[in-house]
Amino acid sequence: MTTGSADVRDETVEVWDSRLRLHVKIAGDGPPLLYFHPLMGLSWSPWLDQLAQRYTVYAPEHPGTSPGDPQAIREVQTFWELLLVYEEAIRKLGLERPAAIGQSFGGMVAADLAASFPRVFSRLVLLSPAGLWRDDAPIPLMEMVAGPPEELPTYVFAHPESEAARAALALPADPEQIPKAIAQTIWNTGCTTKFAWPIADHGLDRRLHRIQVPTLIVWGREDALVPVAYAKEFGSRIAGSQVEVIDDCGHAVPVDQPERSWTAISGFLAG
């Protein structure tokens, strides 16, 4: 679901032979920065406001996850088509080699865009991205997505009881709005997992070598969804990349460790 700051505006970009109206949330000033959201949809969280103080943040909503347009997911049949949709949207937005941040599912999208179209981004930040698979480090995506909802925070946060974690999953205050909000989040997850089910592996390991831009890989050491073992898998395949592993941090890096992740990300982007 999209919650938001007052200064976030919504723009639609017509792509994919006019079959899709991609919703992009935009905020801030400065050089362009693309943000690709995780599995449950775009949530405009405090650290995006922080980024918007230095950059113009463009955050596209995965097809089907924009409220009121659920069937848009039907227009994108494969993961390859999803990448083409985004590549087109970046051109239509008039963005010249923006920096990009991809988180979790969005990290898989951003990494594959950078590998498939080596000149599309200027810099790349991957926050605990999906996209690879090791038999000795299974990613419990199915267990999380189809498991009891009360267990979900334990996959995402190092400290599920923390105020930040609770705020990140907060439901609307108006009880009448709660079913709609839950339904939207469930549907969002259905739209993203379409390209990540049951295992989010589209052969990215064989394409990562094509990434040619400076890349920062950030991981929480206690990640219970995509284990930290994958940090070095990404790092070793992307030439010249930096890997930053943050202690006492789970899958949702900016929620669990806002200051340390901000220091790492802002320093890298400025560098």
């Binding site: 659920p70 997505v145 189809a146 839950i182 339904a183 469930i186 259905g190 390209f195």
Partner: protein
């Protein structure tokens, strides 16, 4: 009306308290199984279905679930095939209903086309082809197919199967999910262009509209019995039928009901109470709610509707602990003497205009001898009361097999009854 015996195939020897520790689907631990008792569970189901065919039921029904302790029937056409051959050999004129192979779950739809066709051939044209989407846990967890694509796969697979059955010459199929160069299956159904098609579902408006438009027969599959959720689904169906210009032929509608029959009401309770409780607790009651709708399986409006109506109507959320009394009072299970059972069934069948009734007489830990007694009593004393219910209205049942030739082909035995 037509009355069929429907069997799921539970493992009958689950330890007490299973549901407190385990899920009955996807992750149900196989270490609990003793091999000999698995054989007994599977073979009993086969024997009971055949017993039902001998007891005069119009049809036998089986269905498909994988990775489940409450229905060990990963491919129901295997079981149906064994019953069909035995029925042939004995000259029993019984419809073979596979309710069915799950079209939203399969990775090989042409196998379903072939298997159904084979069943139709060996049964002499007695197949009823069930085309279910498949439950979410089965399609999206067991088969691990993306939930949001489940219905798209279903529609393509159904179209492919229908074409494979009736297209005279080999044809290419360039679908989104399936691609074939030359489709030319052997055998094809005796019943052309296709056997009667029954669509099981839980009654969502989109499904009902599709069924009526294509002129198939709807089977309301529910664990709730007729009382709790029946009215809203059946009323919606008949209203839609009227709106779409379809007649009120009761054979457009089927329903599955759990039943147990004994000599008296008291005896029925004594014999069946613990088995029925065990069935609901360790079977449907032990399916995690989230496994019934993996994200993407249901549209946002439908999810919102489910969330807003949670706790109203259905019994599903309470099945894991429901007492015998609750089950019987709510008619989730109809249990008692032949007269009690016949009275209750007749009342709701007439009220909701149900033409195809499927009764589940084996459930949970119920042993074979007790099940067969229940089947016999139903066949002797309940069936004769139900069968003529719609006779006076004079409808044609175009959703019943158009059997050709005789039974007994396997042994050359005398011709059986015609449908």
């Amino acid at each position: 009306m037509k009355v069929s015996l429907f069997e799921q195939v539970p493992y009958r020897f689950l330890p007490e308290g299973f549901e407190r520790l385990h899920s009955s689907v996807v992750t149900a631990p196989y270490q609990l199984v003793e091999p000999g008792r698995m054989t007994e569970s599977l073979v009993s189901a086969y024997a009971e279905l055949l017993h039902g065919a001998r007891a005069g039921f119009d049809g036998i029904c089986v269905t498909e679930h994988s990775q489940s302790s409450y229905d060990i029937s990963p491919n129901p056409t295997l079981l149906a095939s064994a019953v069909a051959c035995a029925a042939q050999a004995e000259g029993l004129d019984v419809a073979i209903t596979v309710l069915g192979r799950s079209l939203g779950k399969t990775r090989e739809p042409l196998k379903i086309a072939e298997e159904y066709a084979l069943l139709d051939c060996i049964s002499g044209g007695r197949l009823i082809a069930g085309f279910p989407v498949g439950l979410s846990y089965d399609a999206n967890l067991n088969a691990s197919l993306p939930a949001v694509e489940t219905r798209e796969r279903y529609r393509e697979h159904r179209e492919l199967i229908l074409k494979a059955w009736s297209e005279p010459r080999p044809f290419p199929w360039n679908g989104r999910f399936e691609k074939y160069g030359q489709v030319n299956i052997w055998p094809r159904p005796i019943q052309q262009p296709h056997p009667p098609i029954w669509i099981p579902g839980i009654g969502s408006p989109g499904t009902l509209r599709d069924i009526l438009q294509r002129d198939y027969s709807f089977v309301y599959l529910s664990w709730d019995g007729p009382k709790l959720t029946g009215r809203q689904v059946f009323d919606r169906y008949w209203e839609l039928a009227e709106e779409m210009g379809r007649d009120r032929n009761p054979y457009r509608l089927g329903f599955v009901q759990v039943v147990a029959v004994s000599e008296t009401d008291e005896r029925a309770e004594k014999e069946f109470a613990k088995h029925l409780q065990a069935h609901y607790w360790s079977g449907p009651g032990a399916i995690p709610r989230t496994a019934m709708a993996v994200p993407g399986y249901a549209e946002p409006a439908a999810i919102e509707g489910m969330l807003r109506s949670a706790g109203h109507g259905g019994m599903l959320a309470r099945l894991r602990t429901a007492t015998y009394r609750e089950l019987v009072d709510s008619q989730v299970a109809i249990v008692g003497s032949p007269a009690t059972v016949a009275d209750q069934i007749e009342a709701f069948v007439r009220e909701f205009r149900i033409g195809n009734l499927m009764v589940m007489l084996q459930n949970g830990s119920m042993p074979r001898d007790l099940t067969e007694k229940s089947i016999s009593l139903f066949g002797e004393e309940v069936l004769p009361r139900l069968r003529p219910i719609w006779d006076e209205e004079g409808w044609t049942n175009q959703w019943w097999p158009r059997a050709q030739g005789t039974t007994g082909a396997v042994t050359g035995a005398a011709a059986g009854r015609q449908a």
